[in-house]
Symmetry: C2
């Protein structure tokens, strides 16, 4: 069996994922839990990490590379930001060490865009970008990274030139649970990208994004007047918000794009792929889990094994 | 002292307003409370109304005219909807009587737009429209009625031809309280339409409505990166949502409009007037309180005193 050489951790706001990796960047073992930054800030980051390391029998000397909210101000150790425009390699240079640990533990920084009229931040997505594009890609790329706060990133010659966050996932969540729309979506079943209400909403939102707060209201009024079912109401709300985001991402990219690089996995991957197809937009999908592991692996390679000699 | 002749009530989801009126439609007394439909559905609508009638010493034979959510399915007595396109006079024809009461109590219907692709409802605003425009206006009018669910209404020759609701007020509320933006707006003080962050957000949202879920996120990222203060963050969130609504209302009106009829009062009046001025849009303001009283008065005149003889 291959020997565990390093540990890769994606530590988000509400999720924790750990992979035990060998020298060839093959996954030997994996842990997933809900002990994200919010929960770990109470339990203690070291405690959470050590429990998972013990569970996978990580070698005592194996170093740990971490990305995500563990590096936020309210996280474990603040890892700051590389400032955009930022070469993806700057993510490696800005890594900080966690002091007072037996292991070598590093946390990767985020990327900040400090423009007064378009301030923005990412933390975790920069590592996905590193994994998806590497540090030697050339030409212009538009990368779409769906999520709670989706990121649309303009990359040129491996440099993040600008990016924009869209609160799509969170707005869907609070409107579904806390607004009058909760009556319309109560009891909704899962839907996928082939749902007609989702696809119709995608097209309507892209053709008239100014109508977004009206289109979401029609999930409720359609229920009252036309008997719109809960699943269709949820699909309409989702399609409206995702469609508006796509219109915004393309607007921010400032022109036509040949191929959108979609970094996603699971359900969101399916929804965004269906949306792009319905809109006739070219795309290429990179699995988000693979991207973050590849990014963490590239960082581990540079930070821990930079003499190109992997530990025996 | 003038004699009380009828009682006008605007009974919304979360608010109750009652006016004791004389035959010349002058307000003799007024009551305001938070006993809206939600609360009155538990206490009992008759109980709530009688307590307020007693408090203003309403004559026992004086009739009561009511608009708003008291006529919803989950209200006191369902008053249904007039279907758009709807002459404003159809609001008078659709009034329903509350059975089993000593007084003559009538509730006005709402207006429904049953189009499958743009279902919409209003309840209360139809009475404001009646009061603001009457039943004999001519030509095309675009009416903006800001609120929790703002309405933009296209009227032609006193007929509601189409309308659209925008969830501006509710989206502001849930995002301010339930999303990550609560950190950015915590402790915000009141701002008015002259706040630079409000006006800048209005212009940005109108010029790029597809960016709405990004622009609202910059309330948070601006706080993290640029030290944006809480009041400016709230003003930016408000301006972004109102600006997107204005862009949508103009889009739905399908072209240029000479003068927007703004039916508003209080703080929202100031914000929308400032927004219209910043955008160079012509507008004319009708006080929303006056509009609803005038509409209720017109209904009372027709329904209770239609022989044009006011009771002695």
């Amino acid at each position: 069996m291959a020997e565990a050489t390093y540990i890769a951790v994606d530590w988000g706001t509400s999720s924790f994922r750990l992979w035990l990796m060998d020298a060839g960047h093959t996954v030997l073992n994996e842990r997933r839990s809900g002990e994200g930054m919010t929960s770990a800030a109470e339990t203690g980051f070291a405690t959470v990490l050590e429990a998972h390391l013990a569970a996978v029998s990580a070698p005592e000397n194996a170093p740990v590379i971490i990305c995500g909210m563990a590096g936020a101000r309210q996280g474990w150790v603040e890892a700051g930001y590389a400032d955009a425009p930022a070469p993806l390699s700057s993510v490696l240079e800005g890594a900080v060490s966690v002091p007072g640990q037996i292991r070598d533990i590093r946390i990767l920084p985020g990327i900040a865009q400090r423009a007064a009229d378009a301030p923005d931040v990412m933390r975790g997505e920069e590592t996905q970008l590193l994994g998806a594009l590497g540090t030697a890609s050339s030409g212009k790329q538009l990368v779409c990274m769906p999520g709670t706060h989706s990121k649309w990133v303009n990359v040129e010659d491996s440099r993040v030139t600008s990016f924009a966050s869209f609160m799509t996932g969170e707005v869907f969540d609070v409107l579904s649970k806390q607004s009058i729309l909760k009556h319309a979506v109560a009891g909704a079943e899962g839907f996928d990208g082939s749902h007609p209400a989702f696809l119709a909403a995608i097209k309507r939102a892209v053709s008239a994004p100014a109508m977004v707060t009206n289109l979401i209201f029609t999930s409720r009024s359609g229920q009252l007047l036309n008997g719109l079912d809960a699943t269709s109401a949820a699909a309409r709300l989702s399609g409206t918000l995702i469609g508006t985001e796509i219109a915004g991402g393309l607007f921010a990219a400032g022109g036509t794009v040949e191929t959108i690089q979609l970094v996603a996995s699971g359900r969101l991957q399916g929804l965004y792929e269906a949306a792009f197809e319905a809109l006739g937009l070219g795309y290429q999908t990179v699995d988000a889990d693979l991207a973050v592991r590849n990014g963490l692996g590239a960082a581990a390679q540079t930070l821990f094994f930079s003499d190109a000699r992997m530990p025996a």
